[in-house]
Amino acid sequence: MAIVMETQGLTKAYNEQVIALDDVNIALEKGEFVTLLGRSGSGKSTLLNILGGLDCPTSGEVVINGRRVDFDDRDALITLRREALGFIFQNFNLIPTQTAQENVGYPLVFNFQKKAVREERALALLELVGLARRADHYPRELSGGEQQRVAIARALVGNPAIVLADEPTGNLDSKTSDEIFDLMRTVNRERETTFLVVTHERELGKRADRSIELLDGRVVTA
């Protein structure tokens, strides 16, 4: 299996005392579903942000699709986010002024896709997450679970190699939480999209292909 994302000696220190990540070496294979476990403050969010090109490491390297990420090249980071990555956030983070369908198609605006293409792709993905009939609804008209489904569709719209999810079930009740997790697994299997899901729920970790656990910035189990 091809490795889509890999870190080598990834370290992030805010100052001499606070070391968020300490020599992290992980690798994700294509089509893998991996959870990133750890207590709050263990460095999982920092790791996710660095992998997503939203934060830069103090030292070490990130390789995505065989290419080293240059954290000094802002344009390259933007292109990386546009083309290789999808994001799912804890509090859904949909744009309130846009309908579900527009939210899903929104990343493609910055990919310079035509409106017709955006609408078609968005609708197909809403179908995938089971929300096609709510395409014209605004986020405030959707439940938390539904909003997160829209967010999953949005993360997939650019056909990313990896979807990075930051506590995607953190704001949902356990039943909805299960549903969302199942949905991500289904998408992962059907589309062979690699998922890296940050969570602090150990139970969910058991349903992943594998779990990586961080403790004080170090990988405990990989």
Binding site: D55, R74, N111, F112
Partner: protein, 407 residues
């Protein structure tokens, strides 16, 4: 693709603008008041300029222009026969005639401006109308006096039609001593009052004038009649292009224009102070709006928007606010201009008195398409300028902190 992206961004920004309608409207009103003030004052200035120019066109002989010698770049441009031909070739000239300028004095020391003319060629150019008598016989020592100068000579020297006007022409001999030569002209005509330079002039035959100069066959100027008041400045430019000076009633229009340029600029400047307030309001609104949307901007950047995209999106919002402000400002400005016309005109006409009685008929404010376009352009440019700082501020947001801490 570029245009599509632009339209797409405009749509996104338009949606943000419509999201907080009341706030956008109030902000736009701020700049609209400034634009209205500028539109109203500039239209007042333009209206007064228009009326003043119309008054000049009515009251003076605008199409009569005189081209005279001038010094350009160190060389004197004389009125040579070649120059006269060149002047005659300028488009929109109905008739022209070369003249000689002299200054004589009568025996009793009344100083006279003298113009040596071609009695047969002058008709179409100055269109003389005689109060008394008629035109000069070519080549003879006859004279026609302007209305005012004729009255002066009659009152103080008792010169009437048919009388002799004795002129002393002073020259200097080889020792530098003055030698006066007396020349008698017969007064054959008096012109009607014209309200221009001819009221003060003594007209004589140009051949005689050249002879009295000592046989010098040169000219001092060319009188030109333009075919239409609207073409006067074309003719003037033609004359200036030949390196000559143009004089005439049109200079009054030039000075009115110069004066009104300054007046309008000052008026616009002071009324434009309101624009600064409007611009600050836009900046304030945009900063607030961006603060409120911190998280949204963070998300937008996380899912692939570049800082440049964010700057564009926010500037387009300002563009809309500016456009709304400009249009509203133009509308208010038109209303203000109308109010000045209805309520302010009686006052202004009363203050100016009879000289500007033409004002009473027309509008004292004049709204031109240029003023309205200017209003909108000012509004949009100011909005964009005010939006620049908020836009850069938004683009510099760190997506991570924006998403985590944003409202």
């Amino acid at each position: 693709m570029k245009l599509e992206k632009f339209i797409e961004y405009l749509k996104l920004s338009a949606r943000q603008v419509t999201r907080k309608r009341m706030r956008v409207l109030l902000t736009a009103l701020g700049i609209a008041i400034g634009v209205a003030a500028v539109v109203a004052t500039v239209s007042l200035g333009e209206g007064i300029r228009f009326q003043a120019v119309e008054a000049i066109k009515d009251q003076s002989d605008l199409t009569l222009i005189e081209a005279t010698a001038d010094i350009r770049g160190g060389t004197i441009q004389l009125i040579t026969p070649a120059k006269i031909d060149e002047i005659t070739a300028i488009p929109h000239i109905l008739a022209s005639t070369a003249v000689i300028r002299e200054a004589y004095a009568t025996k009793r020391q009344t100083y006279l401006g003298v113009m040596g003319i071609d009695p047969t060629g002058i008709g179409d150019v100055i269109k003389p109308r005689y109060l008394r008598g008629g035109q000069i016989e070519p080549g003879s020592r006859q004279t026609v006096l302007g209305h005012d100068v004729a009255e002066t000579l009659q009152r103080y020297e008792g010169v009437r039609l048919g009388d002799t006007v004795p002129i002393l022409i002073r020259e200097y001999d080889e020792n530098g001593l003055p030698v006066d030569e007396e020349v008698d002209f017969t007064l054959v005509g008096v012109l009607q009052e014209r309200d221009d330079q001819f009221d003060q002039l003594m007209l004589i035959d140009q051949g005689v004038a050249q002879e009295l100069r000592g046989g010098d066959a040169s000219f001092d100027g060319v009188l030109v009649r333009a075919d239409d008041p609207d073409n006067v400045f074309t003719v003037v430019d033609g004359i200036k292009d030949l390196g000559l000076t143009a004089t005439g009633a049109f200079q009054q229009i030039e000075s009115v224009n110069r004066l009104m340029d300054v007046v309008v600029l000052l008026l616009a400047f002071f009324s434009g102070v309101a624009l600064i307030v409007g611009a600050l309001m836009i900046m304030n609104t945009m900063i607030t709006s961006i603060f409120e949307r911190t998280r949204e901007i963070g998300i937008t950047m996380a899912i692939g928007a570049s800082p440049g995209d964010v700057v564009q999106l926010i500037l387009y919002e300002c563009l809309f606010i500016g456009l709304i402000g400009g249009v509203l400002g133009d509308l208010f400005g038109i209303v203000c201009a109308w109010a000045i016309n209805v309520f302010g005109k009686p006052f202004i006409v009363a203050q100016l008195g009879d000289t500007f009685s033409t004002f009473a008929e027309g509008d004292i404010t004049l709204i031109t398409p240029e003023i309205l376009v200017l209003g909108i352009v000012i509004s949009i440019v100011l909005s964009l300028l005010s939006g620049f700082y908020p836009a850069l501020k938004a683009a510099r947001l760190n997506p991570v902190t924006a998403i985590r801490t944003g409202v």
